[in-house]
């Protein structure tokens, strides 16, 4: 089976079926997957927790639940506890009778069943549902150098870039399988060579670039390659809570508009601070981002609404989930916007999304009541899962998330534009 990859005696024994047929198939899957990318060995997963992309009991994914049942029946539970992406439904988020009918009868009919499966397989907490699992409040924050078996593109790119952990862009199921056997194939972003930058991105803007727009521009340019970003440190300063929030949104855009799994920001991210331009490969290409380039990218987004002048019916902020710092800052921004427009409540139904643990901490601050007074709804939902309902897809929804724009019919606006839309009304 495995001619190219060197396995330890223990790994070979699992592959040979000494721990049962199911575990043998799990190992075979990982070995074959790794060999496609030239992996030389299987290395131990060293993080405390795993993170899974599949959080939704979508009827269409029946075969996945059957596979998970097989793992449970064979006692092949995860060796690590794990968090998972956000839940798909929240009754606090506005939806019509028909939308709810589709959600409950055609889409997420397996939600309760699937959450039970996750509990059996090792969910770290009954509310450990968020794409931003690395937030301090959630507690799934890997250390620099940790080897992960995570999926969820925005979480993987954050863990690699901002935390200095090592993880490939794994698919759902592969993520869990790494945890089940405790090993992942050693290739790509797990290796020093794979973490070298093949692009140098020079930031030459006249103001701090919009995180979601810059990430989109870089993602579309470098696709799956690793960029080394120069000139962004002058706008970010140090890696404080504000910079981490910026990089969360920036990274999610690079990963969804392209397929970036790791970026280095000179003077900011841990490997760039430690190794500097040693991280840049010899023949690296150069991409210059200035104001005109960001405008070009912004203007290139297709608007897929049937009625392009429709008045927005809903606004989503928080894909990926918002940080505590973001919830606080945005409470103040919305208050200021409403004061300027002379209004008491937001003029478009607006949903801010965050991890349950972040919401809990936010609700212990005075800002929670202030946000509530503005009419903004706070939810733990996954906006993507909401938008995947075909009836939601026909709604004019606006967002400042470039990930949500990419995967759904939502229209993208910059943060400043969103603020105008929800506090003054745009159309």
């Amino acid at each position: 089976m495995s001619e190219k990859m060197k396995l330890t005696a223990e790994q070979q024994a699992i592959l040979d079926g000494e721990k049962g047929e199911t575990l043998a198939k799990v190992m075979e899957t990982l070995v074959r997957y790794g060999e496609l990318f030239g992996a030389d060995s299987m290395v131990p997963v060293t993080s405390q927790y795993n993170h899974l992309v599949t959080s939704f009991g979508l009827k269409a994914l029946g075969p996945v639940y059957d596979l998970m049942d097989k793992l449970i029946a064979e006692g092949a539970a995860s060796q690590q506890k794990f968090s998972a992406d956000p839940r798909p439904l929240d009754k606090n988020v506005p939806s019509s009778f028909l939308q709810n009918f589709v959600f409950q009868n055609f889409m997420y009919t397996k939600q309760d069943f699937y959450e039970e499966q996750l509990q059996k397989l090792g969910l770290m907490d009954k509310d450990a549902f968020t794409c931003a699992c690395y937030m301090d409040q959630v507690g799934n924050t890997p250390k620099e150098g940790d080897i992960l078996s995570w999926s969820e593109s925005s979480a993987v790119v954050y863990a690699n870039s901002v935390l200095g952990a090592r993880c490939n862009r794994n698919s759902g199921i592969i993520d869990l399988m790494g945890s089940v056997v405790g090993y992942v194939p050693n290739f790509g972003l797990l290796t020093d060579e794979g973490r070298k930058a093949t692009w140098v991105v020079e930031i030459k803007t006249t103001k701090k670039p919009e995180a979601q727009l810059l990430g989109s521009a870089i993602g579309m340019k470098v696709m799956e390659d690793v960029p080394y970003i120069v000139g962004l440190d002058q706008w970010l300063g140090t890696l404080d809570d504000g910079a981490k929030t910026y990089l969360k949104d920036f990274g999610a855009a690079t990963a969804s508009n392209g397929a970036v799994g790791l970026y280095h920001v000179e003077g900011i991210t841990p490997e760039a601070v430690r190794l500097g331009r040693e991280l840049v490969a010899e023949d690296a290409q150069v991409y210059v981002v200035d104001d005109a380039e960001l405008q070009r990218v912004y203007d290139s987004y297709p608007l897929v609404w049937k009625n392009k002048n429709a008045k927005p019916k809903l606004c989503f902020m928080g894909c990926p989930h918002m940080s505590l710092e973001q919830l606080t800052t945005w409470t103040q921004r919305v208050e200021r916007g409403l004061k300027e427009s002379g209004k008491k409540k937001v003029v478009i139904p607006t949903v801010f999304t965050a991890a349950p643990a972040v919401i809990k901490e936010f609700e212990a601050t005075p800002y929670a009541e202030r946000l509530k007074q503005t009419g903004v709804i706070l939810s733990y939902i996954c906006p993507l899962m909401y938008m995947n309902n075909p009836l939601s897809g026909k709604m004019p929804v606006i967002t400042s998330s470039n990930k949500l724009r990419t995967y759904t019919t939502a229209r993208y606006y910059t943060d400043d534009e969103i603020l105008v839309q929800i506090t003054k009304g745009g159309n």
């Binding site: 198939k25 997957y33 994914l61 999926s151 698919s171 790509g188």
Partner: protein, 149 residues
Amino acid sequence: MREFQGRVVSPGKLTAKALVSHGGLNTLASFQKALQFGDKKATCGDQNNPDLYGKEMAGKALCLPRTIGSTTGGLVLYCACSMGRQPACLLFSEPIDSLAAAGAVLADVWLEGDHTSMPVVDSLGEEFLNYVQDGMTINVLPDGRVQII
């Protein structure tokens, strides 16, 4: 006839009509509707892909550079295979990406029966994607050769 040599990811032999995407295939966006609402022809639901949007993918030789998008991509392909709604094969011009690789390997290792089969060949080269067009007849051979008739 033109022949291209690629690398075998999942082996197989078949003949099918080509369906070509010049941009990356967003797996979740393309297949979700089909899996959700029982569309056995797997009509592509990705509005951002002008080459594929609205076209039937099941049973076609899907020619593409790579897959893109959500890391659910691999399990979506696995589900499409399990339900018999997968393309006849995936033919990549570039080396396969980690999400499509996961889908191909998961289907090959965990599913049984001809109706779940989805041979995959990668690294066919840019010229392959420049040459192949919708509706052309494709022969895939077990050694990774792809013939376009």
